[in-house]
């Protein structure tokens, strides 16, 4: 008996049409979600940036509730002013906090990458008793909440005279940057064939120089870890506020101190917020392509 082919064609077309409609709906839904998400994420930064260039009082000069047209106009239309930035740098000495943030974040990143690369290389290449346990211990230090170690660290820092100092804060940041560096870089070294170093050693290099020679092959990982270590340290508030003191005050802590029991210096706060977030956002935008490549390269063992 011949099959009724015409019915099955119609059915297939129905299925295809339905799938196309669902696909279109999903695309629209995803688009709407992304727009809302971008708005939700970026709007605080936009408000902060715009407000930092408004004169005192202008940021809070809004019409009554419901008058959205005038509100939007007042938000975007204003006379720009640099008074808050001037106050920060001239009166509040913000350049020092900027310098402190740069030194502590950069210093911690350098220390973490140097020691992290060495440790990661050893864990990747050597076989010694307890290697697995050491690696697991390194990972677990990243699992614990940072606030849990602040009190014992404070005590130790006090004993060793590291409180309220740039080196002390570098050490503090390294407590969470170093395990991260070891964790990420071990994957990169695992991906570099050991025979390349062996070839260097047979050709005439010692073990240490062979290690140095293969570092360019791990460059994406080294750069990624450096940049992310800078991010983590730059944005830290907890360690800086508890252990940084006055001498090592960083941008996040300095910004928080603009709110007192009697007044909130919104203008200066927004300007400080821009100064704190802008460098890292720019850095992230510049290297985002390499960051993703760098982090995922070490993920898959070839």
């Amino acid at each position: 008996m011949a099959r009724d082919v015409s019915v099955s064609h119609e059915y297939v077309e129905q299925v295809v049409r339905r799938r196309k409609r669902l696909h279109r709906a999903a695309n629209i839904g995803a688009g709407v979600f992304l727009v809302l998400f971008i708005f939700w994420t970026l709007m605080p930064f936009v408000i902060m940036l715009v407000s930092s260039f408004k004169a005192s009082g202008d940021a809070f000069s809004l019409p009554s509730y419901g008058n959205w047209g005038t509100a939007l106009k007042k938000f975007w239309v204003f006379k720009p002013s640099l008074e808050h930035y001037k106050t920060l740098f001239v009166t509040d000495g913000y350049a020092r906090y900027f310098k402190n943030s740069l030194l502590t974040a950069g210093g911690s990143a350098v220390v973490s990458v140097l020691f992290g690369a060495s440790a990661a290389y050893a864990l990747s290449r050597s076989n010694f008793r307890g290697k697995g346990n050491i690696y697991f211990w390194v990972l677990t230090t990243r699992m614990a909440p940072v606030v849990a170690v602040v009190v014992p660290l404070y005590t130790l820092f006090k004993i060793f005279g590291l409180l309220s100092s740039i080196p002390g804060l570098i050490v503090a940041y390294t407590t969470f940057n170093l395990p991260f560096a070891i964790w990420i870089l071990k994957g990169f070294f695992d991906n570099i064939p050991y025979s390349v170093e062996e070839a260097y050693m047979v050709d005439g290099q010692g073990r240490f120089r062979a290690f140095v020679r293969i570092l360019p092959l791990a460059a994406p990982g080294l750069v990624s870890v450096f940049v992310l270590s800078v991010f983590f340290a730059w944005n830290d508030f907890l360690f800086a506020s508890i252990m940084g003191g006055n001498a090592a005050r960083t941008l996040p802590v300095a910004t928080a101190q603009m709110k007192s029991s009697t007044t909130i210096r919104w203008g200066e706060i927004t300007a400080a917020g821009v100064l704190t977030t802008a460098p890292m956002m720019l850095l992230g935008l510049l290297i985002r392509k390499y960051l993703i490549t760098g982090l995922t390269m070490g993920a898959v063992r070839e």
Binding site: A199, V202, D203
Partner: protein, 373 residues
């Protein structure tokens, strides 16, 4: 060039003994091949010579110098790795020049040797490429080029052509052999491929489970295997092994089982008689290689009845898989095309001079002149 001597060399990885009491000599200018299956200890042995693995016990000598405590760079060796290990961020030119630059050769000497290697290996047009832009065969030639520019005491090749296709492997076997003869440098070549070992080496050291099984020329390894394991590892198809009883009858000595009754040659007769006197042992294993079997008729001496299981034409030869009456397999390799129906009954003859006998317990060859390790 150097004489390479292994004296009671042992390699342990934790509780696993990968190389067990190795004693071996590679003569001056000799192409020594370490042959064996994966995990037999051949690569561990090579890496101990290179200084890339610690020697757990024993000593390795280059001429009279004990090299155990020398770094790889101090041993004056050149190595070609299984995965080539080219420096991915350097061009071919930089890869080949690197060992010379590290040892501070003069610039004109570097240029001269680079040209020599490039001409010999036909890689002149590849010098400015990076390894990622090369094929497998090209990478392998570059790796060899990096090794030969220095004229070391010893070349170490660790399965360098195992990742190439069959045609390129066949070509490179000849090239590597010729290269070694031209340079005259001592070489240790590691492979699991018996064809490479038998076609290229001056001397073959067969290893299994960390133990050296036999050392000899390719002809000795093939025609005079020291034990059953070497006999079945070398040769394609593997040597046929049949359990037999040694009996005296009709004025001669025969290897007998339910399928066959084969008269043994003089050397085996003498050896079996001595063995029987010593231990009254009659059981053994009979070995015969596939190319040493021929089609015959029932009346031929040393003939055995079998049925055809399957034929495998290889072009100029045919491998015929047979089954004896008891069901035991037998493989033969004959010239030309064989047209035989499945389960067709045939008669196969064995040349007594080509037979091998092995002890059925130890596997050691009976009446063998080869070096037993």
């Amino acid at each position: 060039m150097a004489v390479i001597k292994f004296e009671h060399v042992v390699k342990d990885y934790g509780t696993v003994r990968a190389v067990k009491d190795l004693n071996l000599v590679g003569e001056l200018g000799e192409f020594l091949c370490l042959l064996g299956p994966s995990g037999c200890g051949k690569s561990s042995t090579l890496r101990m010579v290179a200084g890339l693995e610690f020697i757990s016990e024993g000593s390795i000598f280059f001429d009279d110098e004990r090299i155990n405590d020398l770094e790889p760079r101090e041993r004056d060796i050149a190595m070609v790795f299984e995965a080539y290990a080219l420096y991915p961020h350097m061009t071919v030119r930089q890869n080949i020049e690197n060992p010379m630059r590290l040892r501070k050769y003069p610039k004109d000497e570097i240029a001269k040797r680079l040209k020599m290697a490039a001409d010999l290996l036909e890689i002149g047009e590849l010098l400015d490429r990076k390894p990622a832009q090369l094929s497998g065969g090209q990478k392998q030639r570059v790796a060899i080029g990096r090794a030969i520019v220095r004229e070391p005491k010893v070349f170490l090749f660790d399965e360098p052509i195992s990742h190439l296709d069959a045609k390129l492997r066949a070509h490179m076997r000849g090239e590597i052999k010729r290269l070694q003869k031209e340079l005259g440098t001592s070489m240790i070549y590691v492979t699991h491929d018996q064809i490479e070992a038998l076609t290229m080496a001056d001397k073959v050291a067969v290893m299994n489970l960390g133990v050296l099984q036999q050392v000899g020329t390719p002809e000795q390894i093939y025609h005079e295997p020291a034990n059953e394991w070497v006999a079945t590892f070398v040769g394609e198809p593997a040597m046929n092994i049949l359990p037999v009883e040694i009996v005296e009858k009709d004025g001669g000595v025969f290897a007998v089982n339910a399928d066959l009754s084969v008269q043994l040659g003089e050397k085996h007769r003498i050896a079996c008689e001595a063995r029987a006197k010593e231990s009254d042992k009659r059981s053994a294993k009979l070995g015969i290689r596939a190319p040493d079997l021929n089609f015959g008729v029932a009346s031929d001496p040393n003939s055995v009845e079998a049925r055809v299981y399957v034929t495998e034409p290889l072009g100029e030869e045919t491998v015929v898989q047979l089954r004896l009456k008891s069901g035991a397999p037998l493989a033969m390799r004959v010239k030309g095309i064989v047209k035989a129906a499945l389960d067709e009954t045939v008669w196969v003859t064995m040349d007594a001079s080509k037979l091998h006998l092995f002890d059925d317990e130890t596997g050691v060859a009976i009446a063998q002149s080869a070096v037993v390790c």
